[in-house]
């Protein structure tokens, strides 16, 4: 369990990057951190493994306060915490294989075993053929995958991902996310993901915190935060321009329902259409981001229906009957 208490960080006595943040991240959780550019996300995770010395507050991992540890204890602790950096931070003078080997060698594994494991990981992230290439010979996405492989190499207990898939195409992103999900399930490791791709949060995070100007604007279950964002910051992220004050005020005659698919429903089920036919609720899609993987649908829809208590209830009931989670969303502040 990671317990962050009243954390704050002020750079050069003037830039207050994060302010009094408290968060609890359960063991084995996949926790998303989102926020606008410059909101303090990177600073926050960099404080978690104490790469950035917080100006105030404490970070407890499994009950141990990191800020109180000796250098040596901190090092041991850090071996259990891997980090994928926003700018990769690969060693320029070492090839991919040796970059991935590094944390293994640091942890004391012998060279041969380390190389074997590194190769496995490179294979998993799909760049085994680049094992002997140097960072300067890699494409952006390839570099990022080396960084991912390196972070996973030591089978850490905690994984901090700072925009770990930002340089990847959707296909590779999906594969990496699946990989993270798998290792999260198999080894019960805690994953903290910074991202600005809402789809990433929706597809793999259980809980999410929304940072705004260095403070936590909102936090909670992804499904509830995303379906019913309370803060302006959250709404801005969850409905990037999908949420629009003009729209809302202009349309006082509609109400919104957010539907989240988590793979429990088959692609082939024509939900919106059937609802119209079956219960006579004609819903319009305000915002949609879904995809189907292996015949299951993931993602979310934001529907608007007539502003009428009965209609909303009918729609919600319909979704509940079909075992799809749906909630009314109140977009007006």
């Amino acid at each position: 369990m990671i317990q962050i208490n009243n954390l704050s960080k002020i750079y050069n006595n003037e830039v207050e990057a994060i302010k009094d943040i408290s968060l609890t991240i359960a063991e084995g959780d996949i926790y998303g951190i989102i926020g606008l550019s410059g909101a303090g996300k990177s600073t926050l995770v960099r404080c978690i493994n104490l790469l950035e010395k917080p100006t105030g507050g404490t970070i407890e991992i499994d009950g141990v306060d990191l800020t109180g540890l000796s250098e040596k204890q901190l090092r041991e602790k850090r071996k259990e915490i891997s980090m994928i950096f926003q700018n990769f931070n690969l060693l320029n003078q070492k090839n991919c294989l040796n970059n991935v080997c590094l944390p293994l060698l640091i942890a004391g594994m012998n060279k041969k075993k380390a190389e074997k494991r590194a190769l496995e990981l490179l294979e998993i992230v799909g760049i085994k053929d680049k094992a002997t290439a140097y960072p300067s010979q890699l494409s952006g996405g390839q570099k990022q995958r080396v960084a991912i492989a390196r972070a996973l190499a030591t089978s850490p207990r905690v994984l901090l991902c700072d925009e770990a898939t930002s340089a990847l195409d959707p296909t590779t992103t999906a594969a990496i996310l699946q990989l993270l999900k798998d290792i999260n399930q198999k080894f019960n490791i805690t994953i903290i993901i910074i991202t600005h791709q809402m789809s990433v949060v929706e597809s793999i995070c259980r809980r999410v915190a929304i940072l705004d100007d260095g403070m936590v604007a909102e936090k909670g279950e992804v499904s509830s935060v995303f379906s019913n964002p309370q803060s302006a910051a959250a709404r801005r992220l969850v409905f990037p321009e999908g949420y629009d004050d003009k729209l809302i005020t202009a349309d006082e005659d509609v109400r919104f329902i957010r539907v989240v698919f988590d793979g429990d429903i088959a692609t082939s089920k024509p939900l919106v259409a059937s609802m119209a036919v079956e219960v006579n609720v004609v819903a319009s899609i305000v915002y949609a981001s879904t995809k189907s993987i292996g015949g299951k649908t993931y993602g979310s829809l934001l529907l608007s229906v007539k502003n009428d208590e009965k209609t909303v209830k009918k729609a919600l009931d319909y979704f509940t009957r079909n075992e799809v989670s749906a909630k009314e969303v109140f977009l007006n502040v």
Partner: protein, 229 residues
């Protein structure tokens, strides 16, 4: 400019003295560089890692002390270093005269220089990469050995090449305490005896030597630099 018998004389000296002198120059330079690096490298590392914001901060007085120590040695003219280290030379080599003995002042005079060059190279390592190493729980020693030195390798090599040729230049002066080598021949014949032809020949061989050191150093530095494509 140079008459026939001057050529004759020069040729004789080239044949009789150059092979040994060349060998002496090479081994004095290489051994001195080796030892100076053995001392200067760790010192240079300390200079970078021990800083307040380094990876293994050392007490401030200690940093100042090392800094002063290096500056002291760097400020003393080589001629004087030679005299000052006599007692040390005597302890290490058993004598203060001769080619072998000249290695000691060379090492003493050049390790601080190497330490500074190492410092300069290591400062160029991307701080983000060092941070990455800290994040995986590497000890300061591991960070130095597995991250900083490999990352700075081409630059270190480039600077060590500079140091080697500087040491080679210094070694010429070791003729003063009976050291041998091409530099001594150049100085003895050219400077004290106005036999400029011999001096010229000795200098040409020295140039070739520097050229070789420099080429090898630059070649490896460039080859080993993986940042260039």
């Amino acid at each position: 400019m140079f008459s026939a018998d001057k050529f004759q004389e020069a040729l004789e000296i080239v044949v009789s003295q150059f092979p040994l002198a060349l060998w002496e120059t090479v081994y004095v330079t290489l051994i001195a560089t080796l030892f100076a690096t053995v001392i200067g490298l760790p010192l240079g590392v300390l200079l970078v890692t021990g800083k307040k914001d380094g990876i293994r901060p050392l007490p401030n007085w200690f940093n100042r002390f090392i800094d002063l120590f290096i500056n002291v040695l760097r400020s003393i003219p080589f001629l004087i270093v030679m005299i000052l280290v006599f007692p040390l030379t005597r302890v290490i080599v058993g004598t203060t005269v001769g080619t072998v003995a000249s290695i000691v002042p060379l090492v003493i005079a050049s390790f601080p220089f190497i330490a500074r060059l190492v410092e300069s190279s290591l400062k160029e390592v991307d701080p983000n990469i060092i941070e990455m190493a800290q994040s995986i729980g590497a000890t300061p020693f591991q960070i130095v050995a597995k991250v900083m030195l490999p990352e700075a390798f081409p630059s270190l090599l480039q600077n060590l090449t500079i140091a080697t040729t500087t040491i080679l230049g210094y070694s010429a002066m070791s003729g003063i305490i009976g050291g041998g080598g091409l530099g001594k021949i150049a100085i003895n014949y050219g400077y004290y005896r106005y036999k400029y032809l011999i001096m010229l020949l000795a200098v040409i061989v020295l140039v070739l030597l520097v050229q070789i050191f420099q080429s090898i150093g630059s070649f490896i530095a460039t080859k080993s630099d993986k940042r260039l494509k």
